[in-house]
Symmetry: C2
Amino acid sequence: MTVTLADVAARAQVSPATVSRVLNGNYPVAASTRERVLRAVDELDYVLNGPASALAAATSDLVGILVNDIADPFFGIMAGAIQSEIGGPGGRAGGERLAVVCNTGGSAERELTYLTLLQRQRAAAVVLTGGAVENTAHAEAVATKLRKLADAGTKIVLCGRPPAPADTDAVALTFDNRGGGQQLTEHLIGLGHRRMGYIAGPEERTTTRHRLEGHRAALAAHGVPDNPDWTVHGRYDRRAGYEATLELLRRDPELTAVVAANDTVALGACAAVRDSGLRIPDDVSVVGFDDLPFSIDAVPALTTVRLPLADAGARAGRIAMGREEAPPGGIATIRGELMVRGSTGAPKNS
Amino acid sequence: MTVTLADVAARAQVSPATVSRVLNGNYPVAASTRERVLRAVDELDYVLNGPASALAAATSDLVGILVNDIADPFFGIMAGAIQSEIGGPGGRAGGERLAVVCNTGGSAERELTYLTLLQRQRAAAVVLTGGAVENTAHAEAVATKLRKLADAGTKIVLCGRPPAPADTDAVALTFDNRGGGQQLTEHLIGLGHRRMGYIAGPEERTTTRHRLEGHRAALAAHGVPDNPDWTVHGRYDRRAGYEATLELLRRDPELTAVVAANDTVALGACAAVRDSGLRIPDDVSVVGFDDLPFSIDAVPALTTVRLPLADAGARAGRIAMGREEAPPGGIATIRGELMVRGSTGAPKNS
DNA sequence: CTGTTAGCGCTTTCAC
DNA sequence: GTGAAAGCGCTAACAG
């Protein structure tokens, strides 16, 4: 009932092999033959059987994209950019790759499971986005998995994630979270802030640690005192930002600034500051990280560090497809850009 | 070099068929045998060949999700919810479905191309999210494609999209965009507004048309005059909202409210209102649509219509997997809920 | 409950 | 430039 390549071959009066060759366009075929085949394909409304060709060719045209949370624009933007470069429709013929988006929810276990599932699909490439879980056992398990994938011919690219062990053959486009965190806090210090609350992301995450390290490095470099009470951990969402800010303000009502792990958290922080009857930035300055699209529309607009998410994703996609060379050493560090806006100002009593 | 099912069978001293059965868990196998097989799988570090099983079984465990723009949380939230229900890791064994997210960018052509690609993959199900392009030729082409997919055993679910022709066998979970638009405008009318600007989405989109119809129905029902000059079309992004608002205000500085096609557009509208030196809602009220997470953090918080995106996505996912019954007639209308917040108030001179 | 037997539909050497 | 033939690795009747 379903049309197969053999049917097309019969109709075009050629062998199945020839049909395969014109369909894949990776082999010389006489122009007249090609046209005859294409016509037959059309007339028969033939659709290639993906699994069958993947089986025979030992590779599929699926590209895996691992994200923590696809509902978060941070990941959505990267995923969209990656997808646009892996040659979806509109790309040159034959390069119709499909993106398999895997939501790990930040769980190490699910990350591994998805990697296995992608291995099972014989994915052409896998792009892992965002920070990694910091846990030796898990890191080793992931590295092992990546090695297996690479051995099976799957190209691995890390986008916005620290490099994996060199023997995994994974190309890494890493965000300079440490540097960004440092810039943000230095900006605040420059404004005169000395008592700053810090809302960190979930523990055991590279992104969380690096941003926090940047913050602390800035404090240390400028001799500004740190205080364990001024740091709180939470999820990367608005709710966590709201609650953490309330807690921070309760612990120390004298805080003049709140540094949030990312923009989403910062939005929650802004709400908490306002709900506490304080003004931004007059009473409390707030900063975020990432510069997601809505950040400029916060009131006042959020001071933050802009990460070129779309560019990074696009580049990762091209590298995954072998359409762009990997950076020297397989590692590139992508810096963020400090965006100073209305949510930060000099502290009142400075 | 790569381990196959036959290797596992040999090691476990059973037939390949038995191994297949324990792996798929859809057939009775003696507990002791199962365990032996599982052990062999483990020892050999065996990973099933997806394409091979898809070929043999004539169906894959891929589920396609068509979205206009995955970077937009409107789609990201639905996609995430769908994915969480199609039995990713954590689901019961054997139900490891992968989500293939396809970004159509709102292009009818790419939508069709992706549908073909999904057909090629023998996708188990396809979920089409968001509004459809309004164009007879295209609608017919899509319907034809859906029929073919359904014939091949692919389950089709529409999520947040108007029903397709009945013979496509597509289940539809439709958002009541018309009703939501009407509620919003009635709320404004109730407040005393009589001169309202409307920023519509792109033309030729069902969502755009329905929301606008709701707006106009409300105007008509209350005898409030409409004016062609008060409607502007644009993309569903902040920039479009910003520019459209400036244009609207230029055309009629007396406008007391701006109705935006969605929250993202509303954010841009708010910025434009403020940049024009006007206050929200004192001078101009602004409303959005969707109630995306950031909407409550706008200042003032956005009055909007909440769409249960996550619930709808989850339900679509379950229906696609056959884990929930389709609604009677294959169509369910999902209503939004009016969320009255600070961005709307009575007009000044009312 | 388990083994045997055929393919599923395509790609790919290897000849011609 | 094109054809023939041999699988790729798995599932699904059908027996037993």
